[in-house]
Structures are given as structure tokens and as C-alpha cells.
């Protein structure tokens, strides 16, 4: 009797249904809490058709991303230099460095900005104004910019170095991950040990920008990672670990820098 009533309610009103789902969540979680073990149960509407990104890393995409003319890209990139720096090293720590970035990586992000899969008030209109050929040209230009690791030059690493404790935590996560919690090592996808298609090299990335993105992935502000990879990993990291990782890369340790060199 009660279940049939619920069914009628479900057809009638979606607002009430949401409320009921929350109640059901609490009801489902409460016994587990009482039993002593915390269990975060998440019910979500399946088959919602949400697509994280329209890009697939197929041979066709790779060919399109590699078809650019770097010289034409250099002319187009004058618009980018204001935020991303003349040589691909951003003067603002909250804006990513693009020097030496893999073509496929930048290509995917530009496509996602254009398709509103990744949100940015600045980058969405810029990406919408670029043609497919323009995107290929710009990514070709940034891929050819040299990555320099000069610790005397603050253009590359304007941020403070991590504390000794942060460096230790981050070094462990970057090189080994955390097997107990199922966190893969960062360097298995973000280099220099190995890469995966579309994963940016982080060796010379800005710390502030990295922290922003780690937090955005964790709290659902950024959802354009294919197959939820970064959303899952950031949900496993603690707040202090995210900060340590951002400082580690921002301070140049990922590029082989040392604490003494800073």
C-alpha cells in the first residue's frame, strides 16, 4: 500500500521526490553510522546523459591536434600572452603556464571551453572565437616553446617552496601514490615517468593554479575529466595533501629542483 503511494507521488512531483531521496539517504546511512563504521552512500540518477567532454583521444583527434602551423599560432598567441606570458610562463600564479604543453592536452581544454564542458568566464568566449584550425595552430605554438628550469628566474617558479614536511608528503604521493587508499602516483600520468593522452605535464606548472584545479575537481566545480579520473583521485586526497602537491609542483621540485636551489 505504502509503496504504491510512493510511486504515485514519484510520478506527480519531482521536488518531493528529491526530498524523499535525501530522507532515504539518511535512513540508509544511519544504521551504518550506529554500527560504528562511516559509510558515505551516494544515490544518483542514472543514465542522465551527462558527457564530461566531447573529445575522444582517437587517432583522428591526434591528427587534427597535430595539424597546426606553429608560426601562425605565434601570431594568434599574442592575445594569450597577456595572461599566459610572452614565453608561455604566466606572470600570474593563478593562470596556467603553457610553455611546452603537449598539443593534445591544450587541444582538449580549448575544445572543452568551447563546448562549455569546462567553465571559465575568460576562456569560454576566447575558445568560442577560435576556429578549429586556429586551435591547432595555437597548441602547436605552445608545444614548441621551450621549458626552462632556471631557479634564478622567477618567471618559471614565482611561488614559495614547500615546507620540508610538505615536500616529503608530496614526494611520496608523486612518486609512489598511496596504495592503501588507492591513489596512483601523479608521475604515472603527469610525467616525467609516464604520460597518458590529454594529461598535462606538471613539472613547470603554477602552484596556485594547481591548487585551484585540485579543489575544483574535488568539489565538482570542474568535471571535464574523461571517465572521472581526476574527480576520483582528488576526492581521495586530503586538504593538506592538495596544498603540498600544489607547492611541490609550483616550487619546481617536480622539475628536478631541490630545496637548496630555491
Amino acid at each position: 500500500m505504502s509503496s504504491s503511494l510512493l510511486c504515485m507521488e514519484k510520478k506527480g512531483s519531482t521536488v518531493r521526490r528529491d526530498k524523499r531521496r535525501v530522507l532515504r539517504l539518511i535512513a540508509a546511512t544511519a544504521p551504518a553510522l550506529l554500527a560504528g563504521g562511516f559509510l558515505a552512500i551516494k544515490v544518483y540518477a542514472g543514465a542522465n546523459g551527462r558527457v564530461p567532454s566531447n573529445v575522444t583521444f582517437s587517432p583522428e583527434t591526434a591528427a587534427a591536434a597535430a595539424s597546426g602551423d606553429a608560426f601562425r599560432g605565434m601570431l594568434l598567441a599574442r592575445r594569450c600572452a597577456h595572461c599566459h606570458g610572452d614565453e608561455g610562463f604566466s606572470p600570474v600564479a593563478a593562470t596556467p603556464n603553457l610553455a611546452g604543453m603537449d598539443r593534445l592536452t591544450n587541444w582538449k581544454q580549448l575544445q572543452d571551453f568551447r563546448d562549455h564542458k569546462r567553465s571559465s568566464r575568460v576562456m569560454e568566449p576566447i575558445a568560442a572565437s577560435l576556429s578549429t584550425q586556429d586551435m591547432a595552430d595555437v597548441v602547436a605554438y605552445y608545444a614548441r616553446l621551450p621549458v626552462f628550469v632556471d631557479f634564478q628566474d622567477n618567471r618559471a617558479f614565482p611561488q614559495a617552496a614547500p615546507s620540508a614536511q610538505q615536500a616529503e608528503v608530496a614526494t611520496r604521493l608523486v612518486s609512489f601514490g598511496d596504495g592503501e587508499r588507492g591513489i596512483p602516483p601523479c608521475q604515472a600520468c603527469h610525467g616525467p615517468v609516464a604520460y597518458r593522452p590529454g594529461a598535462p605535464a606538471l613539472m613547470t606548472q603554477n602552484g596556485d593554479y594547481l591548487l585551484q584545479q585540485l579543489e575544483a575537481f574535488a568539489n565538482g566545480g570542474r568535471t571535464n575529466d574523461i571517465n572521472e579520473s581526476m574527480r576520483v583521485i582528488t576526492s581521495l586526497l586530503t586538504e593538506s595533501e592538495k596544498q603540498a602537491l600544489a607547492r611541490y609542483y609550483g616550487g619546481g621540485l617536480g622539475a628536478g629542483g631541490t630545496m637548496a636551489g630555491k
Binding site: I41, A45, G46, V51, G179, C189, R196, E228, S229, V232
Partner: protein, 166 residues
């Protein structure tokens, strides 16, 4: 003499190469899912992953194994009901092995591997990738939480559930 032996040695190698290519092409044609386009649509799109309740009381779990994660990272299933697992891979060959049991479901790119598992009692099972897949292989672990049937949330229609802290 030596030259003849060398030439004879080369023949099987060439043969194998010639045999290999049509086999690979046939494999391409029989791909059940496109491992590069799992996120665009179909069974392994984002909203479809997780545990689904079936009409007969059993549950279906859909998972993606990718370098170096299982998604969802924490699978929630009720105890004592048949669990139909459907796994595919987005890149390399992985294997979803559940510690403390004999279960291991292979995840291969391009094909859907289905298995029926049964967890008689509640508990937390650690899982690990059992097929070497790259530099992050040893950290590719997750877990299966088996809860008593009354603690498993009632799912309606297309709803999915998992216990990953997303």
C-alpha cells in the same frame, strides 16, 4: 650454409606477421564498446556507472578500469543477492581482483567482461588490479562494501549507488 639457416629462421617470423594483421582487424570489427569513447554514450557513460537494482532483486554493477583507477572507486552491494558485474577498460588490460575471495574479473579494452559474484556476508573487501598495467599498477586499488540487505538503499528506475566520496 649460414645464410640458408638465417633465411629459414626468418620465414616463421614473416608468417606470423602476415597472420596477425587479419586477426587484429577482426578484433577491431567485433569490438563491443569503443574504449576511447566510453564517456560519450552507452552503457559505461558517467551516469550509468555504479550499482543498479534489477527487478528480480539482483544488482548490476558497471565499472570502468582505467590507468590507474577503478571507477567507481568504492562499490556498494547488498549481501546475499546475485551481483552481476560488468567491467570494461578504457586503455590497457586490467583485472578486478577481490581480496579474500577467488573472484577476479578481467577488464579488456573493447570488450565487456561480465561475471556473477555472490557475497554471502557483509564486510569490506579490498580490491586490486591483478594484471600489470603500467607504472601506477601497484596503487590501483579500491574496495567493495557489502552491506546487509536492509541497509542497501532502495533504488528506483535508473538510479545508481556507490560509496565513493565524490
Amino acid at each position: 650454409m649460414l645464410l640458408t639457416i638465417l633465411v629459414l629462421c626468418l620465414i616463421p617470423a614473416t608468417r606470423f606477421y602476415q597472420i596477425d594483421e587479419p586477426v587484429l582487424r577482426r578484433f577491431e570489427r567485433h569490438k563491443e564498446v569503443d574504449p576511447l569513447a566510453l564517456h560519450l554514450s552507452g552503457e559505461f557513460a558517467e551516469g550509468n556507472l555504479g550499482t543498479q537494482q534489477n527487478a528480480d532483486g539482483s544488482v548490476t554493477v558497471r565499472m570502468i578500469a582505467e590507468q590507474y583507477l577503478f571507477v567507481p572507486h568504492c562499490v556498494l552491494v547488498p549481501a546475499g543477492v546475485p551481483v552481476h558485474v560488468r567491467v570494461t577498460s578504457a586503455d590497457a588490460v586490467h583485472s578486478f581482483a577481490i581480496e579474500g575471495t577467488e573472484y577476479a574479473v578481467k577488464a579488456s579494452p573493447g570488450s565487456i567482461n561480465a561475471a556473477q559474484l555472490d557475497f554471502p556476508s557483509p564486510g569490506t573487501y579490498k580490491t586490486a588490479c591483478r594484471e600489470f598495467c603500467g607504472p601506477g599498477h601497484y596503487a590501483m586499488r579500491s574496495e567493495v562494501r557489502v552491506v546487509p540487505r536492509e541497509q542497501f538503499p532502495a533504488l528506483h528506475g535508473e538510479e545508481r549507488v556507490d560509496c565513493a566520496a565524490r
